[in-house]
Point group: C2
Chain length 289, copies 2
């Protein structure tokens, strides 16, 4: 295992919409394991131009490849001159703790973008630090990116994007989400993950719940925020609970555009339909001086 955190191991490269879809492996000190990530570099970077980046946080069970392969996002990224950065959803490897019985909603593929405090998870599951600090520094060192960043994601990753942006508004220009688990401290997926990763004291969960965080956001730090939610999403009522976030935004008077999409479900067919609109939304914020 290469443990030099400065080095990237090249895995693959494909021409895509006149830019490049690439994949690398690196050793992550935050997560104490090797990680894969995918990155799309738009054609603007071929002329040496530095471009802004949208970070995409995927949902349960995903790797860096699901969004890369299924969303068709390269099209808009090429058009708007934006890089896309797709990290994995958890630490990986033989030494990394996994859920009993291969549960899909805990452990591998289910990092929930938190820093775990409980054994055995705390040895590797520090996705919050990885996404907020380590990955942007690594990306901006190795690729033609400046420090203009936006963040988006789906489901677990849609919540991750909202939560991370609310806690670090100075680090992002805009935030968007598809089908986010907006209130994980009251959602079965969130309760299961948080109790394992963060322990039983629910006070330690609050800093990872977007519907609670939004109430303490400072108006001068409000970010452009966009959410798309399918009305036929099979997880809407029990897990996602978009109405909680709408209520919290109203209470906090935080401006957010929420699009309810009639008949759309939780799948990548939903994401691919509207990802172009999300990238246009981020492009406006990223290119606004």
């Amino acid at each position: 295992m290469n443990q030099n955190p400065e080095e990237l191991q090249f895995l693959s490269s494909h021409r895509s919409f006149d830019g490049w879809q690439k994949r690398y492996r690196h050793f992550s000190p935050s997560l104490n394991c090797e990680m894969n990530f995918s990155i799309y570099l738009p054609p603007a970077t071929d002329q040496g131009e530095k471009v802004p980046a949208v970070y995409w946080l995927s949902g349960l069970t995903c790797t860096d490849e699901n969004f890369t392969i299924k969303a068709g996002a390269q099209r808009g990224a090429a058009e708007y001159g934006i890089a896309l950065i797709m990290p994995d959803t958890s630490p990986r490897g033989e030494k990394v703790a996994r859920a009993i019985d291969h549960a899909y909603d805990l452990g591998l593929g289910a990092g929930f973008y938190v820093n775990a405090t409980q054994e055995p998870w705390s040895r590797h599951y520090r996705m919050y630090d990885y996404i907020v600090d380590e990955l942007p520094a690594l990306m901006e060192k190795h690729f033609p990116l400046d420090d203009r960043r936006s963040i988006s994601g789906h489901s677990m990753g849609g919540h991750g994007a909202l939560m991370i942006a609310l806690r670090n508004p100075q680090r992002y220009r805009s935030v968007s989400a598809f089908s986010p688990i907006v209130n994980p401290t009251t959602s079965p997926w969130g309760i299961k993950a948080f109790s394992h990763y963060l322990g039983d004291d629910v006070k330690n969960w609050w800093n990872y719940d977007a519907s609670l965080l939004i109430e303490s956001a400072r108006p001068r730090e409000y970010l452009p925020m966009l959410i798309d939610q399918g009305s036929a999403d099979e997880f809407l009522a029990e897990q996602l609970k978009i109405e909680r976030f709408i209520a919290a935004c109203n209470t906090a008077n935080y401006p957010v555009q929420i699009n309810m999409r009639e008949g759309y479900d939780h799948s990548y067919f939903f994401i691919s339909t509207f990802i172009g609109e999300h990238l246009r939304f981020h492009a406006r914020a990223l290119k606004n001086p």
Copy 2:
């Protein structure tokens, strides 16, 4: 097993670009087994409108799902009001002959769109009949489609589209291909498949080779034809041999638009980049009265 060829078994449905991405299973008399297919119905069909269809033939190892998930073609299909029909690439099931040692280029996933004449393949491997006759009749019976058809595909399926269109110009309005194996009677993939499916007498192969068929095409039956080929395609020199088709088209004086795409490879990142242009090309032919 349901052996009523008139019935479709519904598998799944997803809203996509304001239309519907659906998947079904049916019993195919041509192939003597159950087959899955995917179909995209554009929003125009929601108003009861009958639309034309583009048939997509996939390459080696694919099922009906690869193009459905990876190409992002629904976007253009919705915009142009075209249905997309994605069949599987071979017969399937316990009783269907498979290649020794799970070879990826023979048997399951590798039907090459021919009617096999040799045992054991001839019991099921009749993909030519399935694509040319059975599937369009089934689609036009069950879905809001008229008889305006175009055909496209990738690699093995790119050749299948060219070959089928050249043999049935009256059944299609236009044909296109990505990275087609244009001259399978001289390509290692084609020689292996044709010798197993069609026997050792190469005369019986000629009717399944687009570079040979094009020389006998009648000018009054010429179809609009578009081909995209990546210059960095890892199979270009040994298997695909686009230069053979260019030469054959020149000899036959058959008008064809061939785009060599600098730096693009054999992957779906290539297809997704240019599928929108192909659908626009087909739309012009399909909507031209």
